[in-house]
């Protein structure tokens, strides 16, 4: 369907001279990306209403079937072809421009120095076809501001060029810089990942629910359809939280390069994320109860405008801390003993769980801990704090405690709960001061300049 003449997507540099902007089309397999949709609709309908589907199928004659195919296939092909034909992208000195739309024209200008992360993803079918998706995460971009699909080599070359331009290399040399060398920081062994999933309480909860609820229903109603209707979604949820997570977090590799952090993962769908230096807003260390004996932790991160939030699915604490030290330069994860609990009277505000709260402020980070069983430690570099708030309810004031909220650019708020009221007031002022001065040492947006 895509044999029509057109500019072949250039695998070489999109821009030769600074001035003329060369526009490119996406890979010719792109029109096929939505080809599965009508089939999925038919299958969904057949599953939803098997009797009706059976009846309709018997009524179908060869002629009507052929007629339907003769109408639907060219229409779909034409639509796919036209969307592909009218989608162009170009790399200019300062931005990536994506022009789409046949009837409603839309041009997205993505400024390169504002890049928060670049993702290259290769879903299973795209891997078979040898193509990849490239997405730039900038605050405020839509999910449709992505380049799907590009040839794999082209996607990699384009990513390298975009990163080089974003880093501040001269536009003329940007495409010659090539891929920055990667130094591997961490690779999660498959066995460890599997054990960590087995030791996750949520996994068992969904599995037990998927078995118990349908059995109870069977005993109560003895209706196959009711049981199936509840069992299938439950099994789906259980599958997503176990097999889905395993498949997604399989072969998790974290690397470090001059272009920033590299995260590669996935068994069927491969994803390659790049987070340039200084883009990480917050880091969270999560320690589920059952992992504690093994000393394992999970590390999540927040980047503004990016949906990726996982840094390390499972790793021993020391390894995870060394990775965090690379991600947030100059930051050492505060020791457990450094975290100060709220005053004892806080137990009247939050019984029992008050013991899980903790706070410490170092030269570089604001670190707050939550949770008693599943411990969570949030780290915010001072330079990433957007605003600081102090909140105190009537009961908290009666007990002389207050909460301090620290807002970051990734729309995450880290809260130090139930601090002593005078301490909280001082913390508010001091944190504002620190976040202001902390920015002076921050890296420039163009990290190579």
């Amino acid at each position: 369907m895509s044999t029509a003449p057109g500019t072949e997507p250039g695998t070489e540099s999109p821009v030769r001279d600074p001035k003329p902007v060369v526009e490119h089309r996406l890979h010719p397999v792109t029109p096929l990306r939505r080809a599965w949709a009508p089939i999925a609709v038919v299958i969904g309908w057949a599953v939803h209403d098997p009797d009706g589907a059976q009846r309709q199928l018997t009524r179908l004659t060869t002629t009507t079937l052929l007629l339907a195919i003769a109408v639907v296939v060219p229409a779909a092909a034409l639509y796919g072809f036209l969307t592909w034909w009218f989608t162009h992208f170009a790399v200019t000195d300062s931005e990536l421009r994506i022009r789409t739309g046949l009837v409603f024209r839309r041009t997205a200008h993505i400024r390169l120095e504002r890049i928060q992360a670049i993702d290259v993803t290769r879903p299973l079918l795209a891997r078979i076809a040898g193509v990849a998706k490239l997405k730039l995460d900038v605050v405020g971009t839509d999910s449709k501001d992505e380049l799907a699909f590009l040839g794999e080599a082209q996607a990699r070359a384009l990513r390298a060029e975009l990163l080089a331009r974003a880093a501040g290399f001269a536009p003329e040399t940007a495409h010659e810089v090539g891929e920055a060398p990667v130094r591997q920081l961490l690779k999660v062994p498959t066995g460890v990942l599997a054990v960590s999933l087995v030791l996750t309480g949520g996994t068992w909860a969904t599995l037990v629910a998927a078995i118990v609820v349908p059995s109870v229903l069977w005993m109560a109603t003895e209706s196959v359809w009711t049981v199936l209707a509840t069992a299938l979604p439950l099994l789906g949820a259980a599958g997503a939280s176990t097999v889905g997570r395993f498949v997604g977090e399989y072969d998790w590799t974290v690397g470090e390069s001059p272009d920033g952090l590299r995260i590669d993962h996935g068994l069927l769908d491969r994803a390659h994320e790049t987070v340039p230096p200084g883009r990480v807003q917050t880091v969270r260390i999560i320690e589920p109860l059952l992992w504690r004996r093994r000393g394992w932790v999970r590390v999540e991160l927040d980047v503004a405008g990016s949906s990726n939030s996982l840094l390390v699915p499972v790793a021993p604490r020391e390894v995870a801390e060394s990775v965090i030290a690379r991600v947030l330069p100059g930051v050492t994860v505060p020791d457990r003993t450094a975290l100060i609990r709220p005053p004892r009277r806080a137990r009247w505000c939050v019984p029992l769980w008050w013991q899980g709260y903790g706070l410490t402020v170092t030269d570089t980070v604001f670190a707050a801990r939550h949770g008693l069983l599943r411990r969570r430690l949030d780290l915010v570099p001072h330079a990433k704090v957007q605003s600081v708030r102090l909140a105190q309810g009537p009961w908290e004031r009666f007990k002389g405690v207050a909460d301090v909220h620290v807002d970051t650019g990734a729309n995450k708020t880290v809260t130090a709960r139930l601090r002593d009221a005078t301490e909280a007031a001082d913390l508010l002022r001091a944190q504002a001061e620190r976040s202001r001065t902390g920015r002076r040492e921050a890296l420039p947006d163009r990290w190579m300049s």
Binding site: I340, T360, Q386, S387, E423, A430, S435, R436, R439
Partner: protein
């Protein structure tokens, strides 16, 4: 109107809690900001709205119930009346609790009587300053200033300002924000 100059604080001697804060590693700033309260226009507007709405409801219920169900039932009109009498001083307390201070590098907003909240926004983090004024606010000569940072949770709004003051604040904040601008 005063601008955000710093003023050395002389009489602040709450030394309790110093030990704890030192553990956490916090420098004590002995600079007390210059707080500015809200002009009385906002209080007037809110009280008038309160009287108009609740007074109307009181009279409406009293008349309607007294006419349809009898004078005893008209006592229900005491409910909105009580609310009105309670709301009058409450609005005053809430109005008094609002204050803001422009410091050299950040803006402070403090508000709330029972649920107190104090917000600090460094000027360099401001992405946008909005001045809004609805029809009722305009009638009373009021405008509110809203600051936005890259964090959606930042809730820095100053309601009920004099329009001239709101514009002065907007210009000053924009100027300071440009001078101290920093990325994400």
């Amino acid at each position: 109107m005063e601008t955000g100059t710093l003023e050395d604080d002389a009489g602040r001697a709450d030394d309790d809690g110093t030990e704890r804060t030192d553990e956490v590693g916090i420098d004590r700033t002995n600079v007390e900001p210059v707080w500015i309260g809200l002009p009385p226009g906002l209080l007037r507007m809110r009280r008038l709205l309160l009287v108009v709405w609740l007074g109307g409801i009181t009279i409406g219920t009293a008349v309607l119930l007294g006419w349809l169900a009898g004078p005893v039932w008209a006592a229900f009109a005491l409910l909105p009346l009580g609310l009105l009498l309670w709301g009058w001083p409450m609005l005053g307390r809430n109005w008094r609790s609002w204050r803001y201070a422009e410091r050299a590098d950040d803006l402070l907003i403090s508000r709330g009587v029972l649920w107190r909240e104090e917000t600090v926004v460094p000027y360099g983090r401001m992405q946008l300053v909005e001045v809004t004024s609805g029809p009722v606010e305009r009638h009373f000569g009021l405008a509110s200033v809203q600051l936005r940072t890259a964090a959606a949770a930042t809730d820095a709004r100053i309601p009920g300002l004099d329009p001239a003051e709101a514009e002065r604040l907007r210009d000053r904040l924009t100027e300071l924000g440009e001078a101290r601008s920093a990325g994400l």
